[in-house]
């Protein structure tokens, strides 16, 4: 399981960076989405994958006795997913607006910010 995840994370990072290096705006966003997913899986992997019980302390116990599954990575991933959902939605609307105004999808054509006023 770990090995599979490691390979998938590597592929996601590689694909994300490759897509980000393209000049197309849409590919840039796809690259960022892939990178974000890779980072989420990385948190999942590094939170240690164990076949453990839920981390609930019984009524008569003081602390967790058996092997338990760490709940923190899930909380972190959920938060990261929610945040990236908002950011990516914004980025998609932004590239749509930019495409309408600039009328190109090519990052090399976008040099209005470098023009001397």
């Amino acid at each position: 399981m770990e090995l599979l995840l490691v390979i998938i994370i590597g592929l996601l990072y590689a694909a994300g960076i490759y897509m980000m290096l393209r000049r197309s705006l849409v590919k840039l966003i796809i690259g960022l989405i892939l990178l974000g997913n890779g980072a989420n899986l990385l948190i999942f992997l590094l939170g240690k994958i164990v076949k453990g019980k839920p981390p609930i302390i019984g009524p008569n116990e003081k602390m967790l006795g058996e092997i338990y599954a760490d709940p923190v990575p899930q909380a972190l991933i959920l938060t990261a997913i929610v945040i990236s959902f908002g950011l990516q939605a914004f980025a998609i609307i932004l590239i749509k607006r930019a495409y309408k105004v600039v009328k190109t999808d090519d990052l090399d054509e976008m040099y209005a910010t470098d023009e001397d006023l």
Binding site: L42, I43, G86, F90, L94, A98, M110
Partner: protein, 502 residues
């Protein structure tokens, strides 16, 4: 000491933002709420700083979950000081926006988002949890995305794409670094991490994680190889927005670096060397970049980069004196950079252009206003006894003590370049003979504005100018705070004890 009220600066900004959203259609009411809200926020943060100064580090465990399990908020002198500066900049920008922001932008929700941005900044300064810091960073960037695109002009959208892409990348790098750090230590609380990271035996992996953090924060604070998004985007939005960006957004990256690299990763020689080299190149490239520019807002954008280098140098030297210099410079820079972008907005409102070549004769036409604008400009250069001087003095002393001659050379070069650029700007914009500029249709000039709007814009510039004069002349007082902060940064045991309570 535990104190449930230290999150008030954050909660209050959210409250103001929600109130503003409810008065979405009434733009005058929005302006009133924003200014009054910023004033109260300023009061709250002053009280916070006084409280921290009197009673030491204040902590709050959100939801009553005890550290290191829950999310902790910590207000030490450094955090409280930066929250105060955020409130000051927020107030100034809010008042300036009353005069300068067009109604179309107010209708798209400019004011609520401005307050959400300030909420994010205050939260980032107060949190004591590394993942929570990530969440505040995301709140900051999403509000700044909306602010930078609001209005939707061509240059704005293009600048926004570069800004959005680089900041999203920075977030991913930051998240990756957090993931590795959590895998290494199993903790997210910064005070606890400080203890846990020291125990990790695989120092190579710790250094790799540190470099990932450096890259993530480096993109956000625009240091040498990672700054290219900043001059491509900061000059595109309206002046009020670039003022809050230029004043605070890069500084939150610097704050995160100062915090993480003193508390969690105590730098070894390798890290300090990397940071020092980055600082030198940042100073150099920012200064040289500013030389080449003609648009005054682009000049200031490059100067932001140049001066980020000074603060980074303080971290690179890594001694109490140098860190105090970095903190002093941070205080000065937030006030002055916010002011400078507002000044550039005023110049644009009066003359209708940002181009140095076209501007001229400002001193002849507006002698009093020129005098006012001279204060932030020359504070930036750091002519003694103005505020920029003292931070650099401390930095150079610190570098001298660690006998880093090359760094002193670069700091002096950076100061000299700044002086040269400001002198050039002064002679071009203020002293050169005026040219007749054609009146542009779509710009509302300063003379055509209502008196209230004029006064609002001037008042905020005057407010920040007096403040930067105050920092310069009251340097001893600021210096004492900066030394306290630096002392706490160098020896974080008080911080750790306050959070973990052991």
């Amino acid at each position: 000491m535990s104190n449930p009220y230290i999150v008030l600066p954050v909660i209050f900004q959210l409250f103001v933002a929600v109130t503003l959203m409810f008065s979405w259609t009434n733009k005058n009411l929005q302006k009133l709420i924003s200014v009054v809200g910023s004033l109260i926020a300023l009061l709250i943060s002053i009280l916070l700083l006084i409280k921290v100064n009197q009673e030491g580090i204040q902590t709050m465990q959100a939801g009553g979950w005890i550290a290191p399990f829950g999310i902790t908020f910590v207000a030490d002198t450094f955090s409280a000081l930066l929250v105060l500066l955020t409130a000051i900049s927020g107030l100034a920008v809010s008042v300036f926006s009353v005069g300068s922001i067009r109604n179309a932008r107010v209708r798209f929700g400019y004011f609520p988002i401005l307050h959400l941005l300030i909420m994010g900044l205050s939260g980032a300064f107060l949190t004591g949890d590394i993942f929570n810091l990530y969440v505040w960073f995301e709140i900051i960037i999403i509000s700044s995305f909306v602010l930078i695109t609001i209005g939707g002009e061509k240059a704005q959208l293009e600048g926004a794409i570069k800004y959005v892409a680089m900041n999203l990348l920075a977030s991913v790098v930051f998240l990756t670094a957090i993931a590795i750090l959590y895998g290494l230590t199993g903790s997210l609380n910064m005070a606890d991490l400080s203890l846990q990271v020291a125990k990790v035996e695989n120092r190579g992996l710790v250094n790799v994680t540190a470099i990932l953090f450096l890259v993530g924060f480096g993109i956000k604070s625009a240091v040498f190889p990672l700054y290219f998004w900043l001059p491509a985007s900061y000059h595109t939005p309206p002046p009020a927005i670039s003022a809050i960006f230029g004043g605070l957004l890069t500084k939150v990256g610097v704050y995160a670096m100062l915090r993480v690299f003193t508390l969690i990763f105590v730098p070894d020689t390798f890290l300090t060397t990397v940071i020092t080299v980055m600082a030198m190149l940042t100073i150099f490239s920012g200064g040289v970049g500013a030389l080449m520019q003609n648009n005054i807002r682009k000049v200031f954008s490059y100067l932001i980069i140049c001066h980020i280098g000074f603060m980074l140098a303080g971290l690179g030297i890594y001694s109490t004196l140098a860190l105090a210099g970095a903190v002093f410079y941070l205080v000065h820079d937030i006030v002055v950079k916010t002011n400078l972008f507002m000044v550039s907005g005023l110049v644009f409102k009066i003359k209708g252009t940002y181009s140095m070549r076209l501007l001229g004769g400002f001193y002849k036409e507006q002698p009093l206003m020129s005098l006012l604008m001279a204060i932030p400009l020359f504070s930036l250069v750091g002519i003694p006894p103005l505020s920029g001087f003292w931070g650099k003095l401390l930095l150079i002393q610190g570098a001298m003590n660690s006998s880093n001659i090359l760094l002193i050379g670069f700091i002096l070069l950076g100061s000299f370049l700044t002086l040269f650029i400001i002198a050039k700007l002064w002679s071009e914009v203020f002293w050169k003979d005026p040219q007749v500029l054609p009146k542009k249709e779509h710009i509302k000039y300063f003379d055509e504005l209502k008196p209230l709007k004029k006064r609002a814009m001037l008042a905020s510039v005057v407010f920040l100018s007096i403040l930067s004069l105050g920092i310069g002349f009251g340097a001893e007082w600021v210096m004492r705070i900066a030394m306290t902060v630096a002392g706490n940064l160098m020896d974080p045991s008080a911080y750790i004890q306050a959070v973990l309570g052991t």
